[in-house]
Amino acid sequence: MKKATKFLSLVLSLALITVLFAACSTSNKASSASEASESKTTSSDSSASDVSEVKTGNGTARSLDEIKESGKIVIGVFSDKAPFGYIDSQGEYQGYDVYFARRIAKDLGVEVEFVSLEPSSRVEYLETAKVDIVLANFTVTAERAEVVDFALPYMKVALGVVSPDNALITDVKDLEGKTLIVAKGTTAETYFSENHPEINLLKFDQYTETFNALIDGRGDAFSTDNTEVLAWALQNEGYTVGIESIGNPDTIAAAVQKGNTELLNWINDEIKTLADEQFFHKNFEETLAPVYGDAVLPENLVVEGGVIE
C-alpha cells in the first residue's frame, strides 16, 4: 500500500513536470496555431472544412423530416476534384456536384453543410450516416449498389483516348500493337485489359505521371475518363482527343444509405422535376463550360431527368 502511494506520487509529479516542460517548449507554437485557426474561421464560410459541425444520427440515416427539422442537410462532396467538387480561392465549395447539392438543399428548405470526402471512404460515410447524401462523382457500379442506394443518374462518363496530333489515334483498331498509357485502378485499365488484350498497357500509379509519360513519348496514346482527356487536350497544344467515347458509358449518381428510400425517392422526384427547367444543362453552363469550352458537348456528359438516351 505504501509502495502504491509512492508510485502514485512519482507518477503525478512526473506527469506534471513533463506537461509543464512540454507546455513551455511549445507555447510559441500554440499561439501561432490559434492565430492561424482564427484567420481560418473568419476566412472560410461555415460550409468549408468543418466536420465538427456534423451532427447526424448514430449510424442510422436521418429521415426527411429529421433533416428538415434540423434545418441542415449534410452532403459529402469532393473538395479537390475540379470542376466537379472543389474549393475556390475564397474557400467556397464549387463545381457540378456542388451546384446540384446546393439546389437539393434549397428545395428542401434547409441549409447545406459540405463534408470533404476521399474516394475510398465514400461508402463508409453513408453506411455510418455521417452524411445524408454523397454527391462526389460517384460512379454507379453493381458492387457499390449492393451497399448503398443510388438515385437516378445526373451525369455520364465514357472513356476518351488522347494522342499527339502527328500520330492521331481515331479508332481503337489503330491501337493494336501500340502502347496505351493508363492510370492504375481506373475504369480505363479495366476496360482495355478485359476487352482489348492486343493493346500494350503502360500503367502508372499517379495521375500526373500519365500525362507526363504521354508528353515524353513513352506511349502512343493515353486513356482515361473523357472529361479528363478533353480538358487536358484543350490546355496542351499538339494533342487531340481522337476517340471521344469508348466503352460503356458509366453513370454518375447521388447515393444515400442503403434502405433510406424516403430520401432516395425525394431525390429521384427532384431530378425528374428539374428536367423541366433543364437544370443540369444550366449546371453544365455554369460549372463545366468555363473549363471545357467547346471541347465537350453537354450532351456527352449531362443526364437530364435521370434518362440516358
Binding site: 509512492k6 508510485f7 506520487s9 512519482l10 507518477v11 509529479s13 512526473l14 506527469a15 513536470i17 513533463t18 506537461v19 516542460f21 512540454a22 517548449s25 511549445t26 510559441n28 507554437k29 500554440a30 501561432s32 496555431a33 490559434s34 492565430e35 492561424a36 485557426s37 484567420s39 481560418k40 474561421t41 476566412s43 472560410s44 468549408a48 472544412s49 466536420v51 465538427s52 456534423v54 451532427k55 448514430n58 449510424g59 442510422t60 473538395s79 479537390d80 476534384k81 475540379a82 470542376p83 472543389y86 474549393i87 475556390d88 480561392s89 475564397q90 474557400g91 463534408v115 470533404s116 475510398s120 471512404s121 460515410y125 453506411e127 455510418t128 450516416a129 455521417k130 484543350l234 473549363v291
Partner: protein
C-alpha cells in the same frame, strides 16, 4: 506565365486557408501530445510493475497499437464506433483519440525505458544518505528520468505532426489537404501551382518541426550524462 503558380498561393483566401489547415494540424498534434505525455507516464509506470497480468496487458496493448496502421485505427474509431455502438464522434475527436492511443503506447514505452535505465544504486546511494523515498524520486530519479524523456517526447511530437496528414481520410481537412484543394482548383489554369503549394507546405512543416527538433537536440546535448 512564370509567376502564375506563386500567384495562386496568395489568391483570395488561399494562404489563410493553408495557415488554417496548419492550425488544425498543430492543434490536433499538440492536444494529442499533451494527453499522451500524461497517460504515457501512467502507462510507463504501469509497464514497470512486476505483476505478470499487468505485464501481459501492457505488452498486448503496445503490440496492438504498433502493429495496427494508424489509418486502420482512425477508421475503427471514426466509422467503427458508429457502426458498432452508434457512437458518432467528429473527425477531430477521433483523430485525437487515435493519436493519444498511439502516443500513450509510444510514450509509455519511453517512460518505462527511462525509468528502468536509472540504475538501482542511484536509489540505494540516495537512501544510504538518509534521503527519504519521496525526496529520492523528487531530487534524484525524476530529474534523471525527465532528462532522458524530454528529447524523446519532443521527437514524438514531430512524428505526430507529420502523421496528421492521414486524418484527411476521416474528413479532417488539414494543411496538406488544403494544399491539394488549392492545386486541384487551379489544375487547368495554373498547373505549376502544385510546385509552389507543395513547396509552401514543406516549408510550413519545416518551420513547425525544425525548432522542435532543434530543441530536442539542444536538450539532449545539454543533459548528456
Amino acid at each position: 506565365m512564370q509567376d502564375l503558380g506563386i500567384r495562386v498561393l496568395f489568391e483570395g483566401n488561399n494562404f489563410a486557408r493553408l495557415m488554417g489547415g496548419l492550425g488544425i494540424t498543430i492543434q490536433i498534434s499538440l492536444l494529442s501530445v499533451l494527453l499522451s505525455i500524461v497517460l504515457g507516464v501512467l502507462f510507463g509506470v504501469f509497464m514497470t510493475l512486476k505483476n505478470p497480468v499487468t505485464r501481459a496487458i501492457s505488452r498486448v496493448y503496445l503490440d496492438f497499437i504498433r502493429i495496427m496502421p494508424q489509418l486502420v485505427l482512425l477508421f475503427i474509431v471514426y466509422f467503427g464506433l458508429t457502426r458498432m455502438f452508434g457512437i458518432n464522434l467528429s473527425g477531430e475527436v477521433s483523430a485525437v483519440i487515435v493519436f493519444v492511443l498511439w502516443g500513450t503506447a509510444e510514450m509509455g514505452d519511453l517512460v518505462r525505458g527511462a525509468l528502468i535505465s536509472i540504475p538501482i544504486h542511484q536509489y540505494e546511494s540516495s537512501y544510504a544518505l538518509g534521503i527519504s523515498k519521496k525526496q529520492t524520486y523528487l531530487y534524484i530519479i525524476i530529474p534523471q528520468t525527465l532528462r532522458r524523456l524530454i528529447p524523446l517526447a519532443i521527437n514524438l511530437t514531430t512524428r505526430m505532426i507529420k502523421t496528421t496528414s492521414l486524418i484527411v481520410l476521416i474528413g479532417v481537412v488539414e494543411v496538406l489537404k488544403v494544399g491539394q484543394q488549392i492545386i486541384e482548383a487551379n489544375r487547368y489554369t495554373a498547373p505549376d501551382a502544385a510546385l509552389w503549394i507543395y513547396g509552401t507546405i514543406f516549408f510550413l512543416y519545416f518551420l513547425t518541426c525544425w525548432p522542435i527538433s532543434k530543441l530536442a537536440g539542444y536538450l539532449e546535448k545539454k543533459w548528456k550524462n
